[in-house]
């Protein structure tokens, strides 16, 4: 008696039998036949040949039969367009049926028949149905507009259906509103520039009302739509949040996550000191935790989103570590995500618990999971300094288990721990060396070799160990070969007497027997370096290494902001902006979080940043984690950055050369790996200068400008530093002199002056003019206490008395060790000048840019971690208007004033420069400068632990850029 019998009719002649049955006079037989047809269709059999016969069954009073025929039509109309016309009349008639169920069914089915010829006939019935008295029909018709748009967009626009749809947003029935929103959102996705969902406070209010009464699915559509709105002020923002918060208690997890998205976005606008802000933060944690008790698939999506949320607002879940503990029978994809979040939440307070868990995981069965757990222990050591010792001992315990892959992972992470805490845990090296033979993975071998090379002086048999690797040199992966080469050179520099043979062996292996250009070139470099100047070689190869930063694989701030606006979507699962991967979303608008209420300038609307969004999208460059041990050594030179954009305005060959190098170094740093970064950067520089090193750059010498050699010859460091920006020909900006003390007030003494930073020294430069009738002498100067402790570094040197109508130029170096008092504005300076006549007081403002010190360039990783570390409320955003520079020129200009560009990223034609500067009192200011080609308005976001300097720094930016 069941339907499974329909599956068994697979014999030949089936179609003929069905045909006969479909044309039978008996209603019952007809229905059975249609059922059989549907069943065949469901399992993918082709029954399209029966089209005319099935359509004949359509005119019936039997609702089930009608529905079945409709089902069939939807499936096959496309392949039989001419036949499908036959059905049109019935549809039109059904649209007038007194029963609203039939009307809705007809309009719904018609929309699903994706045949152009039919769509024309659909317009009239659809128009009627959109205005139907029955809301059930209206809501079905709303979806039908979206279907029709998918088939023929032009038709929908011409017929004015979009306007009707917009009117439906104000419908009295919440379900109709929800469907209208859903339909409009879908249409808007393929229609980037149309202002379909024009959100204003009135529509928002209607949506919020409908939100309470529509179905769970409707709530998702409405919440996603709300998330695109930018409230006018923090009060509106708060009132929306208040009305959305109850959705956090919904049973449908998709509703919950969409509500979280709206709240995370609108929260940005709330003042942090508001009570409600704190309440909201507290309310966000429980629903997120609850998502983790749902089915594993839901957990996975939730965890991917939580990963974003803890990066943006770690405070929400900081007490919920335990819910991320891994259960033995969680699916692997849930386990791995949980582990990731555990590390992000790890702090001094909970590290003991976390470590105990990680140790437990490291003994589980699943290899991938165990590996990640071992790595996680290493990341904990690097993140929480207090735990490092315990982590190392845990890792040693794990090494003792002798489980092969555990040992290998442990060695890889211990290498990172050595990098982070040099000269602290080297006592474990002996244990590591015991396991040398069991290592068979390139990464682990390379890590071990690095350790042996780095600590060669402490390992008695380092030469033997390295020699043992050398035997199968050609079978090793490139990673290991490169590392082995470097390690043996290190060893040689440390113990030159015993290892000469070894180093010669490896150099010849690398240079003569290898086909790998990277390896060969590195071999040549070392060889030449060692043979020309061993002292320089030592300086280069054994140079101090930069410390590695705390957190790896953080998402870049701008990308994170965008992803926060996309919580709950595929983008949030893949941690990529939707434009990067969703097909068919032509010209997706980039979303940005609204600025906080506290920021000085106007709040940026979410789309201004990319109003002219270009479809051609550069793949998002997430700052790479420091995973691989050895990157390409020579990619600086192999890929000459000849196309790094137009030369800066004050060009000339020299500038061109520097620009080239800057770009090249940037890209080098971009995909550089850790351990030998310094030595290689320097090597890269040195290489350019030695013309004999043809092999590596054979392809590119023409690309190098003539002046390239000039800076090179001045030494290794200069070249590197040039890229880094010190010693730019353009000096720091210094404003023109202004009159500080008019003669009227100074009893005849006029003082005009300015400030400047020259060669790292802050100077006050003054012109003293005597406009009185008598001679002036005995000059002295004193500063009042000021924000940065500026004080004269010596007495005012005016040696000769100043006769009437005479002027004198005085330059006085300043230091910053004077007494400090906060001034308003911050850069205000009160000065007293004394002469034989009187004491005069005046105040002036110095450009803050002269307080930026030369060593204000932050390490890339440190920058990333610091940026994340500084609370968001310290961020402020400013607009610089009418600045006609491209990003490179701007970067150069800013570098002249010690504002250093650390990284650059281009998204949709918009350049983002990440910059850092350091004030004389040690305050770091981090900045993100967004420059849109062709748009003279720049956006600067400043982050600083002392947010009060932001306004002032911004003025500094403005003056530097505009002069």
């Amino acid at each position: 008696m069941t339907d499974s019998k329909y599956f068994t009719t697979t014999k030949k002649g089936e179609i003929f039998e069905l045909k006969a049955e479909l044309n039978s006079d008996k209603k019952e037989k007809k229905k059975e036949a249609v059922k059989k047809v549907i069943a065949s269709m469901t399992v993918g059999k082709d029954v399209s040949a029966l089209f005319p016969d099935v359509v004949n069954c359509m005119q019936t009073d039997n609702l089930e039969l009608k529905k079945l025929v409709y089902l069939y039509l939807m499936n096959y109309a496309k392949s039989q367009p001419d036949m499908a016309i036959m059905a049109v009349n019935t549809f039109v008639k059904d649209c007038e049926d007194p029963n609203p169920l039939i009307r809705a069914l007809a309009v719904r089915t018609m929309g699903c028949i994706r045949v152009d010829k039919i769509t024309e006939y659909l317009c009239e019935p659809l128009r009627k149905c959109l205005k139907d008295e029955d809301p059930y029909v209206r809501k079905t018709a709303a979806v039908c507009v979206a279907k029709l748009h998918d088939i023929n967009a032009q038709l929908v626009e011409d017929q004015g259906f979009l306007d009707t749809l917009k009117d439906l947003i104000s419908d009295s029935n919440p379900m109709v509103v929800a469907n209208a929103v859903a339909a409009l959102s879908e249409i808007a996705e393929s229609h980037p520039n149309s202002n379909l969902l024009d959100l204003n406070p009135q529509t928002i209010n209607k949506l919020l009302t409908a939100l309470n009464e529509c179905t769970e699915w409707g709530q998702i559509f409405i919440l996603d739509c709300l998330a695109n709105y930018t409230p006018r002020d923090d009060r509106e923002s708060q009132s929306i949040c208040e009305r959305v918060t109850p959705r956090l208690s919904h049973a449908n997890s998709a509703v919950v996550l969409s509500a979280v998205k709206v709240l995370m976005k609108f929260m940005e606008m709330l003042p942090k000191d508001l009570d409600y802000y704190g309440t909201l933060l507290k309310k966000l944690a429980p629903p997120l935790v609850t998502l983790l008790s749902a089915e594993p698939e839901l957990q996975y999506v939730a965890l991917r989103n939580i990963n974003l949320i803890v990066q943006r607002r770690p405070e929400i879940l900081k007490h919920e570590m335990k819910v991320f503990f891994v259960k033995y029978n969680d699916p692997i994809y849930v386990k791995l995500e949980k582990l990731d979040i555990m590390i992000r939440l790890a702090s001094q307070a909970n590290i003991a618990q976390v470590l105990a868990e990680l140790k437990e995981y490291a003994t589980e069965v699943d290899v991938d999971f165990v590996r990640k757990a071992v790595r996680a222990i290493g990341r904990c050591a690097i993140k929480v300094e207090q735990s490092a010792e315990r982590c190392v001992s845990t890792l040693l315990d794990l090494i003792q288990t002798k489980v092969n892959y555990v040992v290998q992972e442990a060695i890889v992470v211990i290498k990172d721990i050595f990098r982070k805490y040099p000269n602290k845990y080297e006592s474990v090296i002996a244990t590591l060396c015991e396991n040398l033979d069991s290592l068979d993975e390139p990464e682990a071998r390379a890590a071990m070799i690095w350790i042996v090379g780095e600590y060669a002086e402490r390992i008695d048999n380092a030469d033997e160990l390295l020699e043992s690797f050398l035997e199968g040199f050609h079978d090793e992966s490139t990673q290991v070969q490169l590392q082995l080469l470097t390690a043996i050179v290190k060893l040689f520099l440390k113990k030159p007497t015993e290892t000469q043979e070894l180093v010669q062996q490896v150099l010849s292996l690398a240079t003569q027997d290898s086909d790998n250009p990277d390896l060969r070139d590195r071999g040549y470099i070392y060889w030449r370096l060692l043979s020309t100047d061993p002292v320089a070689a030592k300086e280069v190869v054994l140079a101090e290494k930069p410390l590695i930063s705390e957190e790896t694989d953080l998402i870049e701030p701008t990308l994170l902001e965008e992803l926060i606006c996309h919580i709950g979507t595929l983008a949030s699962v893949y941690h990529k902006p939707p434009s990067a991967f969703v097909e068919g979303s032509r010209g997706v608008q980039h979303k940005r979080l609204p600025g906080s209420a506290g920021s000085g300038e106007s709040v940026e609307s979410p789309d201004t940043g990319t109003a002219a969004a270009v479809a051609s999208e550069a793949p998002p460059a997430v700052i790479p984690s420091q995973g691989d041990l050895l990157g390409d050594l020579l990619n600086l030179d192999l890929t000459p950055p000849t196309t790094t954009g137009p030369p800066p305005p004050s060009s000339g060959l020299q500038m061109g050369a520097m620009d080239l190098l800057g770009g090249g170094l940037d890209s080098l740093m971009g995909d550089e790996s850790e351990p030998v970064i310094t030595s290689r950067d320097r090597l890269g520089g040195d290489l350019g200068g030695s013309p004999a090193m043809g092999t590596g750059f054979g392809a590119t010498p023409a690309a190098m400008p003539a002046s390239f050699n000039a800076p090179v010859s001045s030494g290794l460091d200069d070249l590197f530093d040039l890229g880094g920006g010190v010693g730019m020909p353009m000096g720091a900006y210094s404003p023109p002199k202004t009159v500080w003390l008019p003669a009227m007030k100074g009893k005849g003494l006029e003082i005009s002056g300015t400030f400047a930073r020259r060669a790292g020294v802050i100077q006050i430069e003054m012109t003293l003019t005597n406009k009185a009738m008598s001679v002036m002498s005995d000059f002295a100067i004193q500063f009042n206490r000021n924000s940065f402790g500026l004080a004269p570094a010596g007495p005012l040197q005016v040696l000769t008395p100043l006769s009437p109508n005479q002027s004198i130029e005085v330059t006085l170096p300043l230091n910053t060790v004077g007494p400090v008092m906060k001034m308003d504005p911050l850069n205000n300076l009160q000065v007293a000048v004394k002469n034989n006549i009187d004491v005069f007081y005046f105040s002036c403002q110095y450009p803050i840019s002269m307080l930026f010190v030369e060593d204000g360039k932050m390490e890339r990783q440190v920058f990333l971690a610091t940026w994340k570390d500084i609370p968001n409320e310290n961020e402020s955003q400013f607009q610089i208007k009418d600045c006609h520079l491209n990003s490179d020129a701007a970067s150069n200009k800013l570098q002249g004033s010690n504002i250093f560009t650390i990284a650059k990223r281009t998204v949709d034609g918009q350049d983002m420069l990440y910059q850092s500067m350091k004030l004389t009192n040690g305050i770091w200011v981090l900045a993100e400068l967004r420059v849109q080609a062709g748009n003279p308005n720049f956006t600067v976001s400043l982050k600083c632990r002392a947010p009060e300097v932001s306004q002032c720094v911004f003025q500094g930016y403005e003056t530097v850029l505009k002069n």
Partner: protein
């Protein structure tokens, strides 16, 4: 929105496909099969799989993969929630959700899918409404239909779909008016080697079966509503009232539904109702291991712990076991290395134990991993969180309903590490 749906059974056959927009070739599932092959266990297939032109979002329920195909940016949770709703509906209609049941009712399945989604937009997912549109198959109805030629399809507009209470159908009539509430709590816990609790949390639900005539308006209050700070409600619950008075006020759907689910987090002190004493050891160089397990009740407020089932995945090196249960039966599958012990009820006077030896492969080294013990149990008449219903009142109707409330505690993911 959701483009297509494929149902795939455990052996990798696509046995049903449904397209709501244009037809997507079933070859798109090849990407899913690839992922399935890579996964070691069926449940390890990642839920979101990208393909060049589509995204596959899948859930695994009742050993059937429900694979949805989407083409544009769609919230994955929306898709997953919908797929779960499909599974629940099938279960509701056919009693079980198996390949056989779906094939047996393929036409109803197709009609249901058609009603649930329109062009990828959810249409009717409430069981009440669906049942008005398409009557669930019963043996009697199938017989009647065959004889009379009538159909499963309802003739009227699903009235509930448009009212302010879309979850309740109108004109409900019962001779016996009754309302039952089940408070069911599942305790998820991880207990470490030494027996101390690493994490323990409670997932609670209140499932209701309400068969009341007309439009009853119910209020449910608790003795200790303070426990419920993390709750998800059925849409029928008036949220404002809960916020203000901590009282559940609602017009219930007709029949079975989940009124609310709640979560008591690990930050509260969660009582652990059973303890395990274990000693599972392997000696280096010996081909024998010792296995010793004793269960006992703890913090059960005097209630009996029943339906206890212990399972553990023993290390791969274990060839066989020779164990002696003091009660119940145990099995060991030498292929999957899964040990299960059906204990039954725990008698506090005579604690159940399972003791004996495990034989290892001769000459194999001592296994590295420590088996984790999973425990399932039930405790009737108790909610472990201490949640208690205070009273249930009905307004809006004149009759006196019969009211009942039941409590139960179960083990969720209750794991003991050794």
């Amino acid at each position: 929105m959701i483009h297509s749906l494929f149902l795939i059974n455990a052996s990798g056959d696509i046995f049903l496909e449904k397209h709501w927009k244009s037809v997507v070739s079933r070859s798109v599932c090849d990407y899913f099969f690839e992922a399935q092959e890579r996964a070691t266990e069926p449940e390890n297939v990642p839920p979101v799989i990208p393909t060049p032109h589509h995204y596959l979002i899948s859930v695994l329920r009742h050993r059937i993969y429900f694979v949805a195909v989407i083409q544009s940016e769609v919230p994955p949770l929306f898709v997953i929630e919908f797929l779960h709703r499909v599974v629940d509906t099938f279960q509701d209609y056919f009693g079980v959700c198996t390949e056989a049941a779906i094939k047996d009712n393929v036409v109803v399945v197709y009609e249901l899918l058609e009603e649930m989604l329109d062009n990828g937009f959810p249409l009717a997912t409430e069981s009440n409404i669906l049942k008005e549109l398409i009557k669930p198959p019963t043996i009697l109805r199938t017989m009647v239909n065959t004889i009379t030629g009538s159909t499963n399809v309802g003739e009227q507009l699903p009235t509930g779909q448009l009212s302010v209470v879309p979850w309740r159908r109108t004109g409900v009539k019962y001779t016996n008016n009754e309302a039952y509430f089940d408070v069911v709590e599942e305790i998820d816990a991880i207990i470490d080697k030494s027996g101390s609790t690493i994490t323990a949390e409670i997932q609670g639900v209140i499932d209701a079966c309400v068969k009341l005539t007309g439009m009853p308006d119910l209020t449910l209050s608790f003795m200790n509503p303070r426990l419920l700070d993390d709750v998800s409600f059925h849409p029928c619950v008036r949220f404002k009232r809960w916020e203000a008075e901590r009282i559940l006020s609602f017009i219930p759907p007709d029949g079975n539904f989940r009124l609310l689910s709640y979560h008591v987090s690990s930050q509260n002190l969660v009582a652990i109702p059973v303890y395990v004493k274990h000693n599972i050891t392997f000696r280096e160089g010996s081909s024998q291991g010792r296995f010793d397990l004793t269960l006992g009740p703890k913090q059960t407020m005097g209630k009996a712990v029943e339906s206890v089932l212990v399972s553990s995945q023993l290390p791969r090196g274990v060839l066989n076991t020779n164990l002696n249960p003091s009660q119940g039966t145990y099995t060991f599958d030498p292929v999957t290395k899964l040990l299960t012990w059906d204990v039954g009820k725990i008698n506090p006077q005579k604690l159940p134990s399972l003791k004996g030896t495990m034989s290892l492969q001769a000459g194999a080294s001592k296994p590295d991993e420590n088996p984790t013990i999973n425990i399932q149990f039930k405790i009737q008449q108790m909610a472990i969180s201490g949640l208690k219903v205070n009273r249930l009142d009905m307004y809006g109707e004149k009759y006196k309903p019969f009211k009942g409330i039941k409590y139960m505690t179960k083990a969720g993911k209750f794991q003991v590490r050794t």
